[in-house]
Structures are given as C-alpha cells and as structure tokens.
C-alpha cells in the first residue's frame, strides 16, 4: 500500500502540498516556489539532514519548524498550526522529495546539547507504566504488544497516513501516542522535548532511506 503511489493515501497530502507550494501567501505575494523554484531540485535531500540548527535563532528546527520560519521571515504570514492539514501537506511534500535517500545526521558542537537531551529522554523510564522508549523499541522490537508488532521506532517515514487515524499525522503525533500508551504526561507537538527526541531518532536512523509518506496500520 505504501509503495504504490496511487494506493498510498499519503500521496493526497503530497499532492496538496504541491498545490500549496505554488500558492502565494502574505503581503509579499510570494509562494514557496518564488524563492525555491522546483521542489524536485531545491528540496531534494533537505529532509535527510533535519532536524537541524537554524543559524538565525540558534534553535533546533524540524521541517515543520523550518516551513513556519519561512512563513514568518520570508512571507510575513502567521505560522501554520502544528498538525494542521496545510503543515502536514507541505511537510510531506518537502520530505517526499528525499524519498529513497539515506538519513544523514551529524552531531556537532551546535546540536550536541539537543542530542544529549533527546537520548536521555529516549532512555528514561516515564509514565505510570514506568517504561522508556528504549525498552520497547530497542529491547523488545519484533514482539507483540496486543495486536501491534513493536517496530524499532524510526521516524524516517513521517508524516504518515495511519489507517487508525483515518488521516495523515506527524511524528510528534506518534510520540504523543506512545506517551499516552505508557500513561506519561502528553507533551505538545512541536515542543522542545519532542524536537530533541526527533534529532536523536534521526541520528539513530542514519543510513535508512526516507519513506515519506509512510502508511501505518
């Protein structure tokens, strides 16, 4: 279902993203395409190096965050809400341009702090169930949790279309699902903790090909 572009419902979000890419926004009347031209060239490989540090603000941003920075800085319009149809569509469209390319994250002096925090969170026991991400996704992958087969917990296919959601969703929505599963505090999508976690997961997925848009049960 994922590998057949027509059967993959996530491609509807990619198609919507392509339309948004060419739609002017804000007072400047500029679209993403005005500055970045063809996404198939300009955006190719970009998602393999995200989340990345934004030199302007010295903040860690993922693709969603980068798109909203472009909206603020270059289009002078309000940010898209996290998990909104528009942000999912544009993120899927940008990430899709790197489909098949390996994740390529390097840890350096700039992002080390975020990486360390992400790794800590990944290995820390949390919630009423007192489980860490690692206990499921490193120590028990391949085993069953109710009807789910636990995967290694990689983020290389996001945003995905999930049949249970009957909708597309971001990696941070998936994080919230896992936090809910262990009855831990539900952090908001786009939060600093989730970005750190996303960086750690991307580093952990080095070499895996991007699959956006993935399809999940």
């Amino acid at each position: 279902m994922q590998s057949d572009d027509f059967s993959n419902p996530g491609m509807l979000w990619v198609a919507r993203g392509e339309k948004l890419w060419m739609t002017p926004a804000g007072g400047s009347g500029k679209s993403c395409a005005t500055c970045h031209t063809e996404a198939s060239q300009g955006m190719k490989g970009v998602a393999t190096r995200y989340p990345a540090m934004d030199p302007g603000s010295a903040r860690l941003v993922n693709i969603e965050g980068r798109i909203n920075l472009c909206r603020a800085r270059h289009q002078q319009v309000e940010a898209f809400q996290y998990e909104s149809e528009e942000l999912l569509a544009l993120t899927a469209y940008v990430a899709h341009q790197s489909r098949g390319m390996p994740v390529k994250i390097e840890i350096d002096a700039q992002n080390r702090r975020h990486f360390d925090r992400g790794r800590d969170l990944y290995n820390r026991r949390i919630g009423q169930m007192n489980l860490s991400c690692a206990q499921c996704h490193d120590q028990n992958w391949g085993k069953k949790l109710l009807t789910d087969t636990i995967s290694q917990g990689h983020g290389n296919a996001y945003p995905i279309y999930r049949l249970e959601w009957q909708n597309a969703g971001s990696l941070h929505r998936r994080f919230r699902n896992c936090l809910y599963g262990v009855r831990a505090e539900l952090l908001p999508a786009g939060s600093a903790e989730f970005l750190d976690l996303e960086l750690f997961l991307a580093w952990r997925a080095r070499g895996l090909p991007l699959e956006t848009p993935g399809v999940r049960r």
Binding site: P9, M11, Y161
Partner: protein, 106 residues
C-alpha cells in the same frame, strides 16, 4: 476537494482500461463524538458520477461505511479520445470534480 485520477493516457480502441480515483475527504460517519461529547454531523460523499465523453459510465452512492479518503476503481472500454470527468457531492453540499484526458488510437 483534492482528488487524484489515474487512467492510462493512451489506449487502443476496444481495450479494457482501469479507471481509479482517490479523493481526500474525512467521510465523517455521524457516529463519532468530538472531544466535548457532541455528535459530529455525518458528512460523506454521498454520490459520485463518472462520465466518458458525456456518457455516464459509473455511479456510486456511498454511506457511513466507507473509510476516509475513499478510493474507487472500475473498468471501461476505450472508444474515442476524450475526457473522463468525475463529479461528486457530500452531505455538506460541497461539490468536487476532477478530469483526465484519454487518447484512443486505432
């Protein structure tokens, strides 16, 4: 409403060709409550028609049992070059449409 239509671009006269359409739509069943316990009103694409050079070749009436972002597939016989046009409407009264061109040889 966004949709993707997939048909062969070219066909020989008399050839049986697959026609596929995927439409982005929540297909809200009418049975789900929102976060405040209020019922979300039913909103599904209730009817969809496909015409080939103006002649109706397919019609579907859908209800609550169809999943979100529905995909439909059927077959037709290629006859003449022309347009394959889809039109549909949902319970909220919103109409949508999409077309694809087919070139027939022989």
């Amino acid at each position: 409403m966004l949709a993707i239509v997939l048909i062969p671009r070219e066909a020989r006269r008399g050839e049986i060709i697959p026609i596929r359409i995927a439409i982005q739509h929540p297909m809200e069943t009418g049975f789900r409550p929102d976060n405040f316990g209020r019922r979300i009103p039913k909103n599904v694409i209730n009817s969809l028609v496909c015409r080939y050079n103006g002649v109706e070749i397919f019609r579907a009436e859908m209800g609550s049992g169809i999943a979100a972002n529905p995909q439909l597939q059927f077959y037709t016989v290629a006859q003449k070059s022309g347009d394959i046009i889809f039109e549909w409407v949902d319970d909220a009264g919103q109409a949508g449409g999409e077309r694809a061109a087919l070139t027939v040889s022989g």
